[in-house]
C-alpha cells in the first residue's frame, strides 16, 4: 500500500527533526541575521536609570556617582547572561560612569575578568581610573553589608593584587553613598540578597539582568519598584543591545570598524598597562567585536526560528493526525457495513 502524506509526517524520523532544528538555529548565525525586537518597559527602566546617572554626573562633576557591577553568574548560563553583560558594560563605558566590579564565587572570576577587559578595551578605559575589578567577594553578604560603610578593608587588594588604597578610583568610591546603582547580572537568587542587604538596609537602587527561567521569580519585585528595571533572558539582552546601539551610533558617530581600528593608532600605547589588555586591535578581533554587538539579536533570530519551527512541526503533526484519524474512521465504517 502506498504511504499517505500524513503517514510520512507522523513517522518522520527523529534525526530529521533534529537536523531541521540544527539548521534553523545555525543558519541565522551564518547569515548574521539580526532580529529587531520590541522594547519592553522593564528594560527601558534600567536603561533610563543608567542614563539618569550620566545626567547627574554631567551636572555634578565633583561628586560623580559610580556603578557597582556584580558578575553573579557561572559558566552554565553564559549564553543568556553574556550578551546582557556586554551591552550594559558598553553603556556604562560609553557614558564614562566610574565602574566597580566584583564576583561572588571563584568560578565566576575568570568569566568576569575576560568580559570586563574585553569591553574596557573597546572604549580605551583605563584600569584604576575608569574601572576596577575588585575580585572575589565571598561570603557575599558580608561584603554587601560592609559596603554600607567601606568595603576596602575586606578586599585588601584588588583582583590583580594592587593595594586597594593605592587605586585612585577607590579613594572616592567605596560605599553605597557614592554608588548610583548596583547591577547584578545573574542566574541565581543573588538579587534577593541584594534586595535584603543593599536595598533594605541602605536604600541602594538595584537593577537586575537574569535568565528567562528565573525572571518569573523576580517580576513581582520589578513591578513593586524594588528593582530598577530588569533584563529577562535573551530577549531582554536583545532589547538592551538595541538601545545601546542607538546610543553608540549617536555618540561615536562613525563606523564601528573605523572607530575600533583608529582607537589605539595615534596614541602612545606605552603608557597603557598591558596587564589588563593589549592596546591594539587586529582585523579579526574587530570583526568579533562587531559580531558581539549583535550577539543577543542574532541569538533572538535563532530563537525565533526555533520557536516557529517547533510550532510548524506541531501544526503539521496535528494535521496529519487529524486526517489519519478521519481516514481510519472511514475504513472502519466501510468494514462495518
Amino acid at each position: 500500500m502506498k504511504k499517505k502524506w500524513y503517514d510520512v509526517i507522523l513517522q518522520i524520523g527523529k534525526p530529521y527533526i533534529y537536523l531541521g532544528m540544527f539548521i534553523v538555529v545555525v543558519v541565522p548565525f551564518l547569515a548574521k541575521c539580526e532580529m529587531q525586537t520590541y522594547e519592553t518597559d522593564i528594560s527601558k527602566t534600567m536603561y533610563e536609570k543608567i542614563e539618569s546617572i550620566y545626567k547627574y554626573n554631567q551636572k555634578n562633576a565633583d561628586s560623580e556617582m559610580a556603578i557597582l557591577f556584580a558578575f553573579d553568574y557561572g559558566p552554565s548560563t553564559t549564553p543568556e547572561n553574556d550578551p546582557m553583560v556586554y551591552s550594559v558594560l558598553r553603556h556604562i563605558f560609553l557614558r564614562e560612569i566610574p565602574l566597580l566590579v566584583w564576583a561572588p564565587y571563584v568560578p565566576y572570576l575568570d568569566i568576569a575578568e575576560t568580559r570586563l577587559n574585553r569591553i574596557a578595551k573597546e572604549y580605551k578605559a583605563i584600569y584604576g581610573k575608569d574601572y576596577v575589578f575588585l575580585g572575589l567577594a565571598y561570603p557575599v553578604d558580608a561584603y554587601m553589608i560592609s559596603t554600607g560603610s567601606d568595603f576596602r578593608p575586606l578586599f585588601n587588594t584588588d583582583y590583580y593584587g594592587n593595594d586597594v588604597y593605592s587605586i585612585p578610583l577607590l579613594s572616592k568610591y567605596y560605599s553605597y553613598d557614592n554608588l548610583g546603582l548596583v547591577v547584578s547580572i545573574t542566574s541565581t537568587s543573588m538579587p534577593l540578597f541584594w534586595l535584603q542587604y543593599a536595598n533594605a538596609l541602605f536604600d541602594q537602587e538595584i537593577s537586575v539582568g537574569t535568565t528567562a527561567v528565573s525572571a518569573a521569580d523576580f517580576y513581582p519585585f520589578v513591578s513593586s519598584g524594588q528593582f530598577q528595571g530588569m533584563l529577562a533572558g535573551l530577549k531582554g539582552a536583545a532589547e538592551y543591545e538595541q538601545m545601546v546601539e542607538r546610543l553608540e551610533n549617536k555618540i561615536i558617530n562613525k563606523d564601528i570598524k573605523v572607530y575600533l581600528s583608529d582607537l589605539y593608532r595615534d596614541i602612545d600605547t606605552s603608557q597603557i598597562n598591558k596587564k589588563y589588555f593589549e592596546p591594539k586591535f587586529g582585523a579579526e578581533e574587530i570583526q568579533v567585536a562587531i559580531n558581539r554587538r549583535s550577539q543577543a539579536r542574532r541569538g533572538m533570530s535563532s530563537q525565533f526560528g526555533a520557536h516557529i519551527y517547533v510550532i510548524i512541526l506541531i501544526l503539521f503533526g496535528n494535521l496529519g493526525y487529524y486526517f489519519k484519524n478521519k481516514e481510519s474512521n472511514k475504513t472502519t465504517v466501510t468494514k462495518a457495513r
Binding site: K14, P15, Y18, L19, M21, F22, V25, V26, F29, L30, T78, P79, E80, T211, A212, V213, A216, P220, S224, G233, L234, G282, A283, E284, E285, Q287, V288, N291, R292, Q295, G299, S302, Q303, A306, H307, V310
Partner: protein, 240 residues
C-alpha cells in the same frame, strides 16, 4: 609552535562538542569516545574533589585543629566519623559487606529526620500561606477587587479579580485529586477529577513551553562558541 599551542585546546573543545552532536543522528564510535572521556574525566575530577573538599578540609584539618586546641572529645568524634566512613570499604568482600549498613543507616536516618521540618516549612506551610494571601498580605479572595470590577467593569479588572479565586480553586482541586484512600464514589473526589486534570495539564503545558526558550539558548551558546570564539582564534592564529 605557539600558534598550535593556542589553537590546540579550543579545537579539542570544538571537536568534543561536535562529537556529542553526532549522537543525535545515531550512536557511533565518535560519540562513544567522547562519552567515555567525559566519564573518565568526571570521575577523576571527583576523586580529587573528595580529597580537596571533603577529606582534607572536613576531616583532617578540623581533627588536627581540635587536637591542638585541646578539644579532644570533638577530635575523637571526628575520628569516629572517619572510621564509620571507612566501613564502606567492607563492601569489597561479600562476607563483610553488611558492615557498610552502619554508615548507610546513619546517613539515611539523619537526613530523613533532618529534612522533615524544612520540608514542612517550604513545601507545606509556605505554599498554603501563599494560597491564602498574596506576598503583600492582601487576601487571595479580595473582595475589594470585585468591588473595583463592579465600579469599573473592564476586562483587566475582571481578570485581576478572579485570578486569586482561580488559584485557590486550582490548588484545592489538585490537592483533592491526589487523595489515595478515599473511595471513587465519594462525591467530592469524583466531581473534582476532571477539573483537576484541566488545571494540571494547563500547568504542565505552560511550564513545558516556558522552558523551551532556555533550552534553545543552551544550543545557541554552543554555536556561539564555535562560530564566534573558536573561529576568531582559528583565523587569528592561522592568518597572523
Amino acid at each position: 609552535m605557539e600558534a598550535i599551542s593556542t589553537l590546540f585546546w579550543p579545537t579539542v573543545a570544538v571537536l568534543l562538542t561536535l562529537a556529542i552532536y553526532t549522537f543525535l543522528w545515531e550512536d557511533n564510535p565518535i560519540y562513544k569516545v567522547a562519552e567515555h572521556i567525559f566519564t573518565g574525566v568526571s570521575v577523576g575530577y571527583m576523586i580529587a574533589q573528595s580529597w580537596h573538599n571533603i577529606i582534607m578540609p572536613k576531616l583532617i584539618v578540623p581533627t588536627t585543629n581540635y587536637f591542638s586546641n585541646g578539644r579532644y572529645l570533638l577530635a575523637i568524634y571526628f575520628i569516629i566519623g572517619g572510621l564509620i566512613g571507612l566501613l564502606y570499604l567492607s563492601r569489597f568482600s561479600e562476607k563483610t559487606s553488611w558492615l557498610s549498613r552502619y554508615p548507610i543507616a546513619i546517613t539515611v536516618g539523619f537526613y530523613a529526620g533532618f529534612k522533615i521540618v524544612p520540608i514542612w516549612m517550604t513545601n507545606v506551610s509556605k505554599q498554603l500561606n501563599a494560597t491564602i494571601q498574596y506576598p503583600n498580605g492582601d487576601s487571595m479572595l479580595n473582595l475589594k477587587m470585585f468591588g473595583k470590577f463592579f465600579d469599573n467593569p473592564t476586562w483587566g479588572n475582571f481578570i485581576s479579580a478572579i485570578n486569586g479565586p482561580i488559584i485557590v480553586i486550582g490548588v484545592l482541586l489538585v490537592l483533592i485529586y491526589f487523595f489515595f484512600s478515599f473511595s471513587n464514589d465519594n462525591i467530592v473526589v469524583r466531581a473534582s477529577r476532571k477539573p483537576a486534570l484541566v488545571v494540571l495539564m494547563l500547568g504542565f503545558g505552560g511550564s513545558f513551553g516556558y522552558t523551551f526558550m532556555a533550552r534553545i539558548s543552551l544550543f545557541i551558546g554552543r554555536m556561539n562558541y564555535i562560530f564566534s570564539d573558536w573561529i576568531e582564534i582559528l583565523t587569528t592564529t592561522l592568518g597572523g
